[in-house]
């Protein structure tokens, strides 16, 4: 007798149990704590916060633990939780010049006011596996600088802007409230705030690949890393009922301001153009990629050709979201018996007709 190959509730229940057991692994090994994940897998936590667009290290660590380290799955878990949260208030725009920087470098000037600050970077480590990390060991002592860093570091690009060589970075006329892509669909043409918002939530691998393509001839960016800074920044609210600003806490962000060449035109003198990236946590790879893609998506506005993938907003933005992409690619796992049956019966019909024509005697 035919038995339907259709999963029931019991099968689903068993798969949950198996997943939980696999997540935990060998119980002889101590279980990971959220504090360990937050402290020792900090960059994974940051990536989950960025693409999950929710700044909460504890929840991001929980998501990573639940997802057994699968970053995209963790992003998805965080997003699905985020969407249920009430919106209590809107913060004031971040002022990144007031960032308490932990790192700040410019690729365009040998020295800049406030100095180049290398900070905690893996850039100049020799990528040799450090076998001493294989066993617990004492933390190396960290010597502090003699003088504290300045409270406020002006942006390198502002110095060029003062000379008139950098395009102005002004809000659009009337300074309309930016779209909120967590509550409204992305529509085209998408303005720059909507594009930046999409990129900030976008998958790091997607952005990296697009950004890389612009450097290999698929767009014309001519970028220079004007300034990259990372550090802590206060989030401020201005509640109507108080009438003054309050500091509700600090977050770590990475900002990248790219300087790109632009020949000028009949209406504008030659000046550099901007590409901008800003992400939660520490991730220069993501912030730099975002800045490159932001600039290439401005191609139409700046009168450049728009033939490359990274210049086409619909292509770049509609495919950037890992939660959307991962879901749709993997939905092919779901049963498609009905559609496949439809195709099967169609191809059999076509095939029968084809064979009949082949067999028919030719004139």
């Amino acid at each position: 007798m035919y038995v339907a190959v259709k999963g029931g509730e019991t099968a689903i229940a068993r798969s949950w149990d198996l997943l939980a057991a696999r997540r935990r692994g060998d119980e002889a090994v101590p279980e990971l704590s959220l504090a360990q994940i937050r402290q020792q897998l900090r960059l994974a936590v940051h990536r989950v916060m960025q693409e999950g667009s929710l700044y909460d290290e504890e929840l991001a660590a929980l998501a990573l633990k639940q997802a057994a380290g699968d970053a995209m799955e963790a992003v998805f878990l965080l997003r699905a939780f985020r969407t249920t949260l009430p919106r209590l208030a809107t913060s004031l725009p971040l002022d990144t010049s007031a960032m308490r920087v932990a790192r700040r470098v410019s690729g365009t000037f040998k020295d800049v006011p406030g100095g180049q600050i290398l900070g905690p970077t893996a850039d100049y480590t020799q990528r040799l596996l450090d076998f001493s990390l294989a066993e617990p060991a004492a933390t190396p002592r960290c010597e502090l600088a003699e003088a504290p860093l300045p409270e406020c570091l002006p942006s390198v690009l502002d110095l060029l802007a003062a000379e008139g060589l950098m395009e102005a970075d002004l809000p659009p006329p009337d300074d309309p409230a930016p779209a909120d892509l967590t509550r409204e669909p992305l529509l085209f043409p998408a303005d720059r705030p909507a594009r930046l918002q999409n990129l900030a939530r976008g998958d790091e691998g997607w952005l990296l690949g697009l950004a890389y393509s612009t450097q290999r001839g698929y767009a014309e960016n001519h970028p220079f890393a004007g300034e990259i800074r990372m550090g802590e920044i206060s989030v401020m609210l201005l509640p109507d009922e108080l009438g003054f600003e309050i500091d509700i806490g600090a977050i770590v962000v990475t900002e990248c301001q790219m300087i790109n060449q632009f020949a000028g035109g009949p209406h504008a003198p030659p000046q550099f153009t901007r590409g901008y990236g800003l992400v939660f946590g520490e991730s220069e790879r993501k912030a730099m990629s975002m800045a490159l893609v932001d600039r290439s998506l401005r191609a139409q506005e700046l009168g450049e050709s728009t033939g490359s993938p990274a210049q086409q907003a619909e292509f770049a933005l509609c495919h950037s979201d890992s939660v959307e992409a991962s879901g749709f690619v993997q939905h092919l796992k779901l049963p498609h018996y009905v559609d496949f049956q439809a195709e099967l019966s169609l191809i059999r019909t076509l095939r029968a007709e084809h064979d009949r024509q082949q067999d028919a005697p030719h004139d």
């Binding site: 259709k6 509550r183 939905h331 779901l334 195709e343």
Partner: protein
């Protein structure tokens, strides 16, 4: 429906942590307003602020959001995938609503007030007052012919559907048939070209002047649309190549039904095929009636 296991304790009691139907009231209102516009302009794709759901995009997030926006305590919910109530995704979605809305669920088509479906329309004729919610992966019927949303919007605005006619005609020139067997495009209310979702074209005629309200949700693509009851829904065709639904020379191996949509099963290692109803409720009813 019995609960063979209880959810892991980490989930606590979801009813205390989530609103009725999972979505917050603001999101429901946004969806409800969009649904009313969708009903007012049948077949037109209304953009909406789709939310992340606790189910992957592509697995029914659009359908779930629509169901969450309309469902109430008085509803009786049926969820099918491939026509069956017991496929894993259908089970999962039905459990989700039983959990976050506490509503009654059923597998019997005529007992349901609300039916969420992926890829099928039940064989039992639908009745007035019933609402069908379709899960839609790609709401834009022209997408494979024109990738840009800006361009397809213009084509709909001008009711310019030549691209689709050309495509179907090229099929005929090449194969002698229209080579689309599911997600077969329809004209709704003689105005908008629409995707019926990936139902087999066998089900297309059930959309025409149905007494039930049909709602379509595409979560990942953030679009929803509707076909009100008694609305003209015409499957595209040509005078010399009229629309034709699938039919089988076999009958269902379980119930003997000869007019339902059949799944093909490979029954043994020798590749012996069996055909059985895709609609499990219909199949059960036929067998019960025969006894």
């Amino acid at each position: 429906m019995t609960e063979p296991f209880s959810p892991p304790s980490a989930n606590l009691d979801d009813r205390w942590r989530y609103n009725f139907g999972f979505l917050d009231e603001n999101t429901k209102r946004m969806l409800r307003r969009a649904l009313l516009k969708a009903v007012a302009v049948p077949g037109y794709q209304v953009p909406f602020g789709s939310r992340e759901m606790p189910l992957p995009y592509g697995w029914g997030t659009g359908g779930i959001q629509l169901t969450a926006a309309v469902i109430g305590h008085e509803d009786v919910l049926k969820v099918i995938d491939q026509g069956a109530d017991d496929t894993t995704n259908a089970v999962n979605i039905r459990r989700f609503f039983a959990r976050v809305a506490g509503v009654a669920t059923t597998t019997v088509t005529r007992d349901a007030t609300l039916i969420q479906t992926r890829h099928r329309i039940p064989e039992t004729p639908l009745a007035e007052g019933q609402i069908m919610v379709f899960q839609v992966p790609e709401p834009e019927p022209l997408r494979t012919l024109e990738a840009s949303e800006v361009e397809t919007r213009k084509l709909h605005a001008h009711q310019e559907y030549g691209l689709m006619h050309v495509k179907l005609y090229e099929d005929i020139a090449r194969y002698g048939h229209i080579a689309t067997s599911y997600d077969y495009p329809v004209m709704v209310n003689r105005r908008y070209l629409a995707s019926p979702s990936p139902i087999p074209k066998f089900d297309n005629p059930k959309l025409h002047r149905s007494p039930a309200l049909m709602l379509f949700g595409a979560g990942r693509e953030k679009r929803l649309y509707a076909i009100p009851p008694y609305t003209e829904v015409e499957s595209l065709a040509f005078e010399d190549h009229p629309f034709e639904a699938q039919h089988w020379s076999q009958a269902c191996a379980l119930c003997g039904s000869s007019d339902s949509y059949l799944d093909e099963i490979i029954a043994d290692d020798a590749g012996v095929r069996q055909f059985v109803c895709s609609d499990t409720d219909h199949c059960r009813q036929q067998r019960e009636a025969a006894q």
